[in-house]
Symmetry: C2
Subunit: 309 residues, 2 copies
């Protein structure tokens, strides 16, 4: 276990889980909390996990990053709908060599952050996990949990290795992907069909897989994303859609994060998960008509959802 | 007013309205009824219309076409989901020169019927009407009502002219379209976006028009249908989508027939309204990816709806 200090920005289903695992393993972790602060102060930060439940009784918690110590590593578990807040949230936490790990879904989060922090080390992380926040400061981890890390800019390889070791020591399966761009697109091959369709069609993943026409649509969306990714230079094998279909067939019935956001009347990650890949693909001459239609349907559905009682 | 006798097969929102108007004007009309028979026998056939309410006190009603007299003209107001029943339903009504008028939405209904009745005169009719059945044998006519007639095969021009005159005398605005193929496609330019999207997105027409992304999607679907139609040889001007958007902006908030079918857990007309035009366009080399996606979503939605409590 390293002597790196960690800060967690966005301590929900993702940040709370990964930060919680590190802290539970003895790592120094500081958590930024907002609405969950009072609950975490009273009862700690609780993680009910298929790998064993635990509760951090006295976590290091803060209401503002202004009050937090600078960190060697910042784990960002915010929803991307809040990424416009990141520059301001992060500044108090940063030393020159603080590594920022964006554990988020979508495309271009690293590039956007790089525009305001061009000299800061930035790592992208893909979380392959089923987890959600069931109550304030109370996370339920249902399945999986592996992290894939990829470098965006200025990453110190020695430090990256320490971070990976810390996660491993905390019981998280970690792998490195030397091609973050491809890794982001690969995650989208799953995220684009399942997040959007479960919201628009009001269903879980297994329902989509068990009906022939929705199954075909999932598959067509995957293939469209793969074609767009390949046009943008990502290295994705032609059998990758088969793998994703097969993996999903083996999953328990699941509500993707966007469906949970929808059900809780929260903003959905349409921008980074749909608009950005569509825009990037278009810039390379690849159209994504089905993905675009799904994104439009999501915007309409979100607008109805937010005005609903 | 002619001395033509009319039979109405499918006496719901469409057949009940148009047949009812003819009968109310004094034309000889015989109605086939199923679930509404008892109600019509007791209380007549009632039409509440923006153009004036009326009730046929003693309509000629039947439970089976076997019991009906042969007719000069058969108006078919069935939903196309029941078109497989047409050959059997129609045979008892047909003389050699009986003209069959299909007042239905979609593509290829005439061609399908022609396969089993290759020598029978067949007319296609497009109804531009907002009407629905609110109770058994009780139709509410909300807006519009014009009929467009086009010949499919073997039509006697003199008889067609008499039919048009009968409708006109009954207060129905009738126009002739010498190009039924184009007229069917033009109707689909409206039907494909609004029917499917109101079901999948759980909305009325005005909600789709008032949100920028769904409005864009409606427009994109219209343009896809127009491109497919043009590839199939239909004559549609490039500003037709503008006209349809503008007409819909001026309509009252409206639930298209497919949304009403969905809300009442009835089968939806996905085959003739989506699958057939997609198949026809594909045969001419035109892809309809957005329409196809909408059709797949409708099939999934229908299946969920039918298994719902």
């Amino acid at each position: 276990m390293s002597n790196l200090s960690y800060a967690v920005v966005g301590s929900g289903a993702i940040g709370g889980y990964y930060g919680g695992k590190l802290a539970h393993a003895g790592q120094e972790v500081h958590f930024l909390l907002h609405s969950d602060y009072a609950q975490a102060l009273q009862q700690g930060l609780r993680v009910d996990s298929v790998d064993g439940n635990f509760c951090l009784q006295k976590p290091n918690i803060y209401r503002s990053t202004e009050d937090m110590p600078q960190a060697d590593v910042v784990l960002v578990g915010l929803k991307t709908v809040n990424n416009h807040l990141l520059p301001q949230l992060l500044r108090p936490l940063l030393k020159a060599d603080t590594h920022i790990v964006l554990i988020q879904n979508g495309m271009d989060m690293e590039a956007d952050l790089s525009e305001v922090l061009p000299h800061q080390p930035i790592i992208g992380a893909m979380a392959f996990i089923c987890s959600n926040k069931v109550r304030p400061a109370h996370i339920r981890h249902l399945d999986y949990g592996a992290l894939t890390l990829g470098c965006h800019q200025w990453v110190d390889e020695r430090k990256l290795s320490l971070i990976a070791d810390d996660f491993t020591a905390a019981g998280i399966s970690v792998s490195m992907d030397p091609d973050l761009h491809t890794a982001r697109w690969k995650k989208l091959v799953w995220n684009i069909p399942y997040n959007g369709l479960t919201v628009v069609l009001g269903s879980t993943t297994d329902q989509l897989m068990n009906h022939p026409q929705s199954r075909t649509l999932v598959r067509q969306l995957m293939e469209e994303v793969i074609r767009a990714a390949q046009t943008c230079g990502a290295q994705i094998d032609s059998d990758f859609a088969d793998q994703m279909m097969s993996n999903t067939d083996q999953m328990k019935p699941y509500k993707p994060s966007m469906l949970l956001d929808f059900e809780h009347h929260r903003p959905m990650e349409v921008d980074y998960m749909y608009d950005r890949p569509i825009r990037r693909a278009a810039a390379h001459g690849a159209a994504m008509p089905l993905t675009q239609m799904l994104a439009w349907q999501l915007r309409f559905t979100e607008s109805k959802n937010q005005t609903a009682p």
